[in-house]
Amino acid sequence: MIGEALKGHLDLLLLAILAEGPAHGYAVIEALRSRSGGTFELPEGTVYPALHRLENQGLLRSHWSVDSARRKRIYQLTPKGQQTLAKRQEEWKKFSKAINATVGI
């Protein structure tokens, strides 16, 4: 149930995590898990297609790091991604406020 609900907001979550700095896919997924206290559990393999899509949309860019023992594809937010994140955060605030008001939280 949470997994299904999460899919609709995955872009926002990924952008928000990468707003704190460049990271590779594994670190992004770990951050998603740890920040949600384990609530946001998706099959990890399904996060990569979303990262690639965000990159194709110009919201992220990636490069391969060469300074570690293993090659890692590092993602980082583009200026367009930062603008999109700000817009989606604003939308989320309004949405969550409306939901909270409706359900009485």
Binding site: E44, G45, T46, Y48, H52, R53, N56, R73
Partner: protein, 186 residues
């Protein structure tokens, strides 16, 4: 060592992505790096290698789920472009076929067959939709111009045209699959 479990998963994933026209070296390298890092994390938490691999694979998701997600997320633009081309080709065929000076059914049928086949060969994943996009317009336009609402006009002719387009589309799709399999096996 049982790193084979990860390698077996990667082999299966590579094959399935490739079958769907989605495999690329960067994606596979990225997945491999993720799985190995996940195994290392498991080992550092005190899991045995087999347990760490099992845990890493379970968390990553089945090949089927991962491929399905990649398929949904990627290549949509190419698919849309091929479908748009199919519609344009279908409209052109319908226009040419409807002209009073045109009476070569063989060329019309051949064009339907070849264009449907070419578009699925180039990578469109739903042969039936390509067949519809190319083959639908000729009978529709024919019916519109002739006002022929008889059984052959309404059912048999469209079925005939769509059958030809389907044959082409599935032949192109099968040829693509065959070539990919052949080169993959080699």
């Amino acid at each position: 060592m049982k790193a084979n479990r990860i390698q077996a998963y990667l082999h299966k994933l590579r094959h399935r992505l490739w079958m769907h026209g989605l495999a690329d070296a960067d994606t596979l390298a990225e997945v491999e790096g993720h799985l190995l890092e996940s195994v290392e994390a498991g080992l550092s938490q005190g899991l045995r290698l087999e347990e760490a691999e099992q845990c890493a694979l379970e968390r990553f998701g089945s090949v089927k789920i991962v491929v399905r997600t990649f398929e949904k997320e990627r290549n949509n633009n190419m698919q849309k472009l091929l479908l748009a081309i199919a519609i344009v080709i279908g409209l052109l065929i319908a226009y040419v076929d409807s002209r009073p000076t045109w009476d070569d059914t063989g060329i019309t049928a051949g064009t339907l067959l070849l264009s449907s086949g070419l578009l699925t060969f180039l990578g469109y994943r739903r042969p039936w939709l390509i067949a519809l996009a190319i083959g639908l317009w000729t009978p529709l336009y024919e019916t519109y111009l002739s006002r022929n609402f008889s059984l052959p006009g309404l059912i048999l002719f469209p079925l005939f045209v769509l059958l030809i387009a389907c044959m082409g589309a599935y032949a192109g799709w099968a040829a693509r699959l065959g070539i990919r399999k052949t080169f993959h096996m080699a």
